[in-house]
Assembly symmetry: C2
């Protein structure tokens, strides 16, 4: 089965996705009966492309890796259009699926939400790794998708391609999820790990994380817990039945934790982790993000470095925990493929 795919945004995640599509094309076709043509790309900074017969992925990745504009893409033809705004691209493309891959704005969720609404109204499936629309408008967008008999899928919003929603949808279907609890931010977990295993002070561990590219120059979103908070809101709205607003989640970051705190906890057999948690109690969800001292026997205590993990408390299966990457070009690119394959699996039945 063949799908036309349009990309809105073609930064790290988009390029990771394209790289996977190219590397795995034969396998996907032969084993999963899945073929994709990337028929359109529109990126605010990198220009746009419309190629109904499907782009040459290495050529596009070549242009982008040189820092070039998509207008430099070597192919041309009568159907080719240039410099299309994402909304115009969505309007004009015959893509079946739009991958919305612009940067997260957790305060406004724009312009991503406008792109997603437009695509769903045009009868296209939407997959995204953007936390903004998923955190602020999940229910509206899911309902809009259903109304149009299309899917709105967001695997990459929580732990990049490490299966969270896929796991619950397929492997845990039939379970009620009562609580989620996890290490949902790799930067802070890297910092806390370094403070314990290498005896670093917070500021030094943060500087190392910045040097290695785990933390931004302004690390606030990570270290003060805003990123984990957005993920807890998404998990609450998708898995616990929501609705939960971002202002309903308590939040404490890790910037006040000292090496002395970490050492003292360690001496008592505990380990500091930044834990995001949401629990359903009757009809109400209580949720928060804060540093917690976990006993070493906790499945989350052994999760070290930049890795993420999430535990689900279920009625039939008790506690189930998944651990894996929480970020990365290929890993988040894979989340996009993973969501598209879920759409494919529904269609081929």
């Amino acid at each position: 089965m063949e799908y036309g795919i349009g990309l809105v945004g073609c930064g790290t995640v988009g390029q990771g996705f394209l790289e996977i599509l190219h590397r795995k094309g034969d396998y996907l076709r032969d084993v999963l009966d899945f073929e994709a043509r990337v028929v359109a790309i529109s990126d605010k900074h990198k220009g746009s492309l419309m190629v109904p017969e499907g782009i040459d992925i290495p050529a596009v990745l070549g242009v982008l890796s040189r820092g070039g504009n998509l207008a430099e893409y070597p192919k041309s033809g009568p159907d080719r259009a240039e410099a299309l705004d994402p909304l115009d691209m969505i309007e004009g493309t015959e893509a079946d699926i739009i991958a919305e891959l612009t940067y997260t704005d957790i305060k406004t969720a724009e312009p991503a939400t406008s792109y997603i609404r437009k695509a769903l109204r045009m009868g296209k499936h939407v997959v995204t790794s953007n936390k903004g629309p998923a955190a602020l408008h999940y229910r509206e967008l899911r309902d809009l998708a259903r109304k149009n008999d299309r899917q709105f899928r967001i695997e990459g919003t929580v732990m990049s391609g490490t299966p969270v929603f896929h796991l619950v949808e397929s492997g845990l279907a039939g379970n009620e999820i009562r609580e989620v609890k996890g290490i949902l931010n790799g930067t802070t977990n890297f910092i806390l790990s370094k403070m314990e295993t290498d005896g670093m002070e917070y500021v030094d561990a943060l500087a190392l994380a910045q040097k290695l590219g785990y933390a931004e120059a302004d690390p606030t979103a990570d270290v003060e817990g805003f990123d984990a908070l957005a993920k807890i809101v998404i998990l609450s709205n998708v898995l616990l039945g929501g609705p939960l607003g971002t202002d309903e989640v308590s939040r404490t970051g890790i910037s006040a934790i000292t090496k002395a705190d970490v050492d003292a906890a360690r001496a008592d057999g505990f380990r500091y982790k930044l834990i995001g948690r949401a629990k359903k109690d009757g009809g109400k969800i209580t949720a928060g993000v804060s540093p917690q001292k976990l006993p070493l026997s906790d499945p989350l205590a052994g999760v070290m470095g930049a890795r993420n993990a999430l535990s689900f408390e279920t009625d039939l299966m008790g506690q189930v925990t998944v651990q894996g990457a929480g970020a990365g070009k290929i890993e988040t690119g894979f989340s996009i493929l993973s969501d598209i394959l879920a759409i494919h699996n529904c269609r081929r039945g």
Copy 2:
């Protein structure tokens, strides 16, 4: 959508499955559009039942909990038959799906394999938690299922209902699995955990496991690694492309491990775990089961008590680990529902 289900074997797993079907019936219908009638049961020791309109689950569970024979089931009617051998039941029932739930015989995989072959040839889907057929005849049974356009599903054979095959099929689809490595036997993990956390000698920890029902009176299958070996063979054949025979897996159990070994490892920052492992190298699979000293930073090192966990090494997502229950009446019963829901998801498309 409604399905007729026939059970071959109605011991702990079968009764766990029936209990879940009863408890979750409304939810499954309302949320997942899934309805099941259990139309036939045949158990070598507990008798048989054919009720085309669907059994009354509480009534059957009542009979079984009193240690009674299925012949005592209070309903009767013209279509009811009694004392049917499983093969005759499979022949006579209009069930769409057969759940094969008899006990594992890892040497012969019988009579389960005969039941499964019969059911697939009759055009029925088969789901099973029985390790015998999955370990010894996976490829044959999978191919037979495909030939008949039916499914042969085995989620419960490795970690009860904790998602293993569902996780790979949906959440990791598109990845190549290069290696699997896990704690696949709860009894031995319980014993090793007790030796470390409670300072028990092996024999005392084993006696406690027996007292609590984690270990059989003859604990050989668990403590000498045969159970984990069967699971490694299943994983190799399903996820690494097999074929791998049970005689191609090296095996060492935990019975020679002493408290002194455990303490010495602990002092060095390591923890003993019985690890099953299979790795694809070119076209060849190497596999083994043995006690290993893991650094505490290994995701498997933190898995304590009777819990199980499995790590997948993948080409796109790196290492992904899932942790959860590895046994239990409801947990294994859920694996059966989980496989049936996968068949349902394929049909409703």
